[in-house]
Symmetry: C2
Subunit: 309 residues, 2 copies
Amino acid sequence: MRVVVALGGNALSPPGGTGTVEEMRESLTTAAAALASLVEDGHSLVLTHGNGPQVGRLLLQQERAASDVPPMPMDVCGALSQGQLGYLVAQALDNALRHRRLPARVLSLVTQVVVDGRSPAFRRPSKPVGPSYELPEAQAIAQASGHVFAVQPDGRWRRVVASPKPLRIVEEAPLRALVDAGHVVVAAGGGGVPVVEHRGQLHGVEAVVDKDRTAGLLAVAVGADLLMVLTEVSRVQVGYGTAEARSLSSLTVAEASAWLKAGEFPEGSMGPKIEACVGFVRAGGAAAIGALSEAAAVLAGDAGTRLLP
Amino acid sequence: MRVVVALGGNALSPPGGTGTVEEMRESLTTAAAALASLVEDGHSLVLTHGNGPQVGRLLLQQERAASDVPPMPMDVCGALSQGQLGYLVAQALDNALRHRRLPARVLSLVTQVVVDGRSPAFRRPSKPVGPSYELPEAQAIAQASGHVFAVQPDGRWRRVVASPKPLRIVEEAPLRALVDAGHVVVAAGGGGVPVVEHRGQLHGVEAVVDKDRTAGLLAVAVGADLLMVLTEVSRVQVGYGTAEARSLSSLTVAEASAWLKAGEFPEGSMGPKIEACVGFVRAGGAAAIGALSEAAAVLAGDAGTRLLP
C-alpha cells in the first residue's frame, strides 16, 4: 500500500525537552523503528513532519544575533528547518531500514507549497511562531521588525504569521517519480515552504503552512492509498473533558464535518488533522489518525481512528 | 551534454555583503540567468554550491543564543544550510527557466556524503568555520564548547574543523534517477552533509567537506560529460602576484598535478578546484574552470580554463 505519514513535531523532539541534537536523535530512533515496520510489511512510504519547535528555536537564535546577522523571513526559516529535519529524519529512518536489511533508501526533498497570496489568512495572521514575550519586549521587537504579535491564552505575547491553505506542491512531479522508483521520501516538512505564484514566477511569503493540511495534498499528489496522521493520542476523542468523552475507532466524513463545524476539534491540534483526513477520503482515499507507537496497527485498522466515507 | 556545475559561495551572497535575503536573491538572480542559458542550449544540469558564509552566520546565531538553544553540530549546520540555499537556489533557477518557458523544473535534495572516520583530517582539523575572535574570547568559547580554534593569517582566531575527502554520495541512486528524468537537481550543497558509515549505519560527524571535491564525485556519480567549476575569476592563473603571472586557457592533467604539488594553487581556493577537475578528467570526463558570468562560453570552450587529459 502507498501510505503518506504525517508526523507530529513531538516525534522529532520531545515536548519540554531542551532541543539538543541527541534528544532529537533519540526521539527519531523511536519513530524510525515504528515506521520501518511499515516498510518491512511491504508498504511504500512518503513522510512529512511538523517543524514548530525547531523553527521556534531558529527564530530565537536569529533574534539574539539580529544586530550582526539579518534574520531570515519565514519561508527561508521553513527551508532551514526542512534541511535540518529532512537530514535527521531521513538518516534515522534509513538506518532503521538498513538495520533490518531492507533495500528501500530514504531521501529528503526541499519542498515548496503554493498558497493563495490573496488568502484572507494574510490579512489576519493568527499562527503563533517563535518564543513568547512579556508585552514590553514584544512591543519593542514589533517596532524594530514590523512583526505582528498577539496575546496568547497564557497572557504572554507571540509573533503571529499567516497560515494559508496549501494549494499545490511545487515538486509534485519529481516527488512522484521518486516514490514510483521505490524510494522512501521525506517531503514538505513543516507543511512546505510557502510560496505564491505571480505571472509564472514563484516567490516566498511570510507564512507557515499547516503540516496536516499539506499531508492531505501530498496524499493526493502521490496517489496514496492511505493518509495516516500519527500523533501522541491513540484515538480521536469527542466530548473531550466532559462526562460524555469517548474515543472513536471510526467516524464518518459526515460526522467529522459536523463536529468540525461545531468546534469539537481544536484549531491548533486535532482540527487540521481531521480536515486533512476528510479531504482525502472525499478524494477517494482512506485515512486514519492514531499513535506513532501503534503505526502498524493503525495501518491495519486495529488501532487509531479510521475515517469512513 | 550533462554538466555538473559547482558554484562558489560568492554567487549566493556577495562578499562584504550583510547577508540579507534580498542580497542573496539578487546574487542568485544573476547566477540563475547565466545557468538558465545552459539549459536553454539543451544541456542537463546538476548544481552544487558552497555554504561558507551562510554556515558562518548560522554558527554566530547559534553562539549568541547558546544559553537558551543548544547549538547544533557541524553536520546539522550543513543540513540547515542545504535547506536554506537549496530552496533559494532552486527557486531562483526555476524562475529563470519559467521566464524562458523552459519545461525542465529544478529541485533540491538534502544530500549526505560519506567520509572516512579514520581520515587524518580528524586528528588535525584545519578548515576555519564561523566568525573570528580575539584570543581571550576564542579561549573562553573553546573551554565552554570543546571546539578547536586556530590562529588565522590576520592574527585573529577561528574555530577549525576537519575537512576529510568525500568518498561516496549517499543519495546517488535517486539523484541519478532525477537527472535521467530531465530534472535540474541542486545537490550536495556545502560539499554535502558529512557522515561516516559504521556497521552499516550512517552517523553525522563534526566536519565540513570541500564543495569542489564533492562536485568531482558528483560528476562521476551522475555520469556527467563536463564538470564546470564556476567562480569569479575568468581563468586559472599561475605565477600569481609575480612578473611571470599568466592566465591559462588550458592546462593538462600532468601540468596541473605538478603545479598542485609545487603549491602553485592555494589550498583554500583554487587548489581543490584543480584537484576536482584533475580527478574527473582522469576518470574520463571533461572539466573546466571559469567565471559564472561567462558560463555558456566556458562550456563551449571559448572562455575559462579547460583541463586536458
